[in-house]
Point group: C2
């Protein structure tokens, strides 16, 4: 994609038409600005110490016996009559610094490799929503067709770095084999980095095998590169279940990337107070972190922050709130304290692609970006607190992510950029449009938004008063037209299909439904 | 207003009903976070030096002879054959530091006094739009009725600090007497700080007289307090016209606040390059700054930043763009370099209260707030690049400003806030809702947005799928119901009316239309 898009960025390139959707080139985007710190150094340390106290005095319920063994052998206090595991602060501290601060996640197309850490920023697509929507078809359960189209959009837009899950659940793939069929489809439709779901060991192992196959390595090859990511959720408060613990262990053993993400709603799964919710999230992260480093010191992980609040009148979850922004930024401070890459999200609780969806998303984005996030999950398409992937919201988010990319491009200060000669030539009361200084630059001087309608009222009115989400509807269809399936060697594709078919024939994963 | 609202914030207060729109109390809001710096120290100095070079080598056209005299006597190079005035860098540097870093702008109700500077943040209402709109009446020319209602909204909402102009132009007041009638109305409908328009000396003097009268000082009283603000726009590039120069001089002489705001669109009235536009803005600000300090050293002024870009395809102005955010933040850095209070704006170019209006506004707001703005002009209601004041957008913005207020409220970290006892009581796999820790706090733990609809899809669908702007429509009407006219002594009101009537009988201001 990168090659094609760079060509597209030029002028008058072969096959370029004015109807192409404006795209910035694929890049390893960096955030050049200092993150916003919402906690003082003292507060940060106090929260760290509170987390240690939680781990020592309250502990975490560890549901997987093998994980208990790991923790026990590393010096944790494992209760023999319950699942409770407690950790001495010195033990916790001894693990901090072991995990790498930067991870390179490889794509099957090396141009899409992701450097995750330092001040790099990557945007992921929405994932794992049960429903999907667009203006034409309304809200409907996730299905193969929409799943494929969302993967195509995520592949098509350069600003999206990876396919970090199923953008929508393809519910018409049976749960016992969905991970096989959906992962196969993603590999066929995209050449960006992929995710396995940590829902039992076999699903993860299948995903890793398929990721190996996708790059021409044999099914049984040994690989030490990081070619798969997974999300590890904590069952907040303070429980790590079998599947997640298996995931941490398996990913550490195979040098794959675990994104440790307690998801908590303050007032429900965590204290109603932000400091308490952050301390609990941090304790949960540290517990998961320790296990990965016990299994393999130096195993790649990310620190995930995902605290929001509930509407205390109705209990409904809220996203993109001022409280969400503060905890996103605080999470970034903790990740940096531990020298870990940081994951945040682009979220909102709106039912429509209206003003609410936009302001909640932009709040989330500022929290993430100025919180120092290295990976933004759910970057494009997330709606209704994660219950819907919206095609129109996807385009709106792509536009927002491109705007953030532009914001993160520093102001250049040089003689040419200061343009004092142009200012002198124009002089007082003059106009800059016709100057050479302007004419040389105007085509690329500013980011041209995909959706923003800057016509005057009269022109806009004559055009039928189109709203943002209506334009997004036409743009997503145009993007699907423009989409080009990336190359996949026929032999690799055959091997991939054969593997999936064999695993399906074997029955996939046992499920109870 | 503050008193009434604080009561309202309590529980079960007299007259409190559940239908009241949620308001945060009036406060001198502070920004506790470090501003985002988009320019390095070196870049900042380079831009400063470029501005000095513009002032020395190109100069500014100064159209008012009296202003030329002031500049000449202070050592500027005044061209005898043109309006051009040039400034030696040493002269410019000699004025830096003279203006106060903090100004207190007094309201007729002392509870609404504004401390402007340091890390205080104040939000103003939209001003000076020629049109007004709401869902019911559509887009229409500014008029008395809508003008009055917008002033009422600005008075009603605690988050709005001042009435920094006519929220919409009451075009049915004749231009020759509009300033008298509109300022009288504002004083009657609101007790927050006010603005005079710098459109000729008489208008400013009349506004200052009316501000004196409004606080029971006589029409001819001497006053050294700052009780009026005005905006000084530069005719970019590099021209200060008669009216603006008269304004700077008059405001300095009377110790009133001039908000120096070059308004430029990069690529039109300033270089297409951001560094060039910032350097030009800075030169223009410094020229106006010097005049105020020549007239009265220590006269109160603000540094205003207002650079946006144009759509280079159509020439349409754009607002709330990534470029806008960067220049807003850069402007804040320059203001802090000169130790001046900083003014920014909440702007967008949308024709509808849709997703675009929201994302452009929230971008503007982040640029302003994290750029260190002390005063946010056009804080609520601005649409279409300033051509329309929207009632629905007003409410959306009030909600956003309250969310920023919440964001600017630091996370508290204390034993009670960390809530380790609650975490221990709840334990792994528990739920926090029923805990005492939660029950004691849940009513006030989180900001409850005015507009955000957090119902699940089914409930929202059954309610008719209301969009954000539709709810805003009902809320603005509710706010007008809740509005209470502030007290104004009958004798003051009589004196105010008598003054206005006399000035109208005298003919107001000569106009050519």
């Amino acid at each position: 994609m990168a090659r094609r898009s760079r060509r597209r960025g030029g002028e008058g390139g072969v096959g370029e038409t004015s109807s192409k959707i404006y795209q910035l080139p694929r890049q390893q985007l960096k955030n050049p600005y200092l993150p916003t710190e919402v906690l003082s150094e003292d507060q940060l340390e106090t929260i760290h110490l509170a987390s240690l106290k939680i781990l020592k005095e309250i502990g975490i319920d560890i549901l997987l016996p093998a994980a208990k063994e790991y923790y026990k052998n590393a010096g944790a206090d494992v209760d023999s009559n319950s699942d409770r595991v407690r950790f001495d602060p010195a033990m916790v501290e001894s693990f901090i610094g072991l995990a790498p601060s930067t991870v390179t996640l490889l794509a099957r197309n090396p141009e899409n490799n992701m450097i995750i850490g330092e001040n790099y920023v990557h945007f992921d697509t929405v994932s794992s929503t049960p429903n999907v929507s667009d203006i034409d078809g309304g809200r409907r359960p996730g299905n193969k067709k929409d799943f494929h189209n969302l993967v195509r959009l995520a592949q098509h837009f350069n600003v999206i770095s990876c396919i970090g899950g199923y953008p929508v659940e393809p519910l018409d793939y049976h749960p016992s084999t969905r991970h096989l069929e959906a992962t196969r489809d993603i590999i066929q439709l995209s050449d960006k980095p992929i995710r396995g779901y940590s829902l039992g060991l076999t699903r993860l192992q299948d995903a890793l095998t398929m990721s190996k196959i996708s790059r021409g390595l044999g099914e049984h090859s040994e690989i030490n590169d990081t070619i798969l990511m997974t999300t590890i959720n904590v069952n907040s408060p303070l429980v790590l279940d079998d599947a997640m613990l298996e995931g941490i262990i398996e990913m550490a053993k195979t040098n794959q990337l675990s994104i440790l993400t307690p998801f908590t709603l303050a007032g429900a799964m965590a204290p109603v107070t932000l400091a308490g919710a952050i301390a609990q999230q941090n304790a949960e992260c540290l517990a998961a972190y320790m296990l990965s480093q016990i299994v393999v010191p130096g195993a790649p992980i990310m620190y995930g922050g995902f605290i929001s609040n509930v509407d205390m009148k109705s209990g409904s979850p809220a996203f993109g709130t001022p409280e969400y922004v503060k905890t996103a930024m605080a999470g970034g401070q903790l990740a940096r304290k531990y020298d870990l890459p940081y994951r945040s999200s682009n979220v909102n609780a709106s039912n429509a692609v209206d003003a609410q969806s936009a302001y909640e998303s932009v709040f989330s984005l500022w929290g993430a970006i100025m919180g120092g996030a290295n990976l933004l999950k759910h970057g494009a398409g997330w709606m209704e607190g994660g219950l819907v992937a919206s095609f129109e919201k996807f385009i709106l988010d792509v536009d927002l992510l491109q705007m953030f990319t532009e914001f993160l491009t520093p102001i250049k200060v040089s003689d040419a950029e200061l343009g004092l000669e142009a200012i002198a030539d124009v002089g007082p009361a003059g106009h800059f449009f016709a100057t050479e200084h302007t004419q040389e630059r105007y085509k690329t001087a500013f980011y041209p938004p995909i959706l923003s309608d800057w016509r005057n009222f009269e022109s806009w009115h004559e055009a039928g008063e189109p709203k943002t989400h209506e334009k997004a509807n036409t743009v997503y269809k145009q993007a699907l037209e423009e989409y080009q399936q990336p190359h996949l060697d026929a032999s690799i594709n055959e091997e991939l299909i054969a593997f999936v078919d064999r695993r399906i024939a074997e029955g996939g994963i046992a499920t109870d439904f």
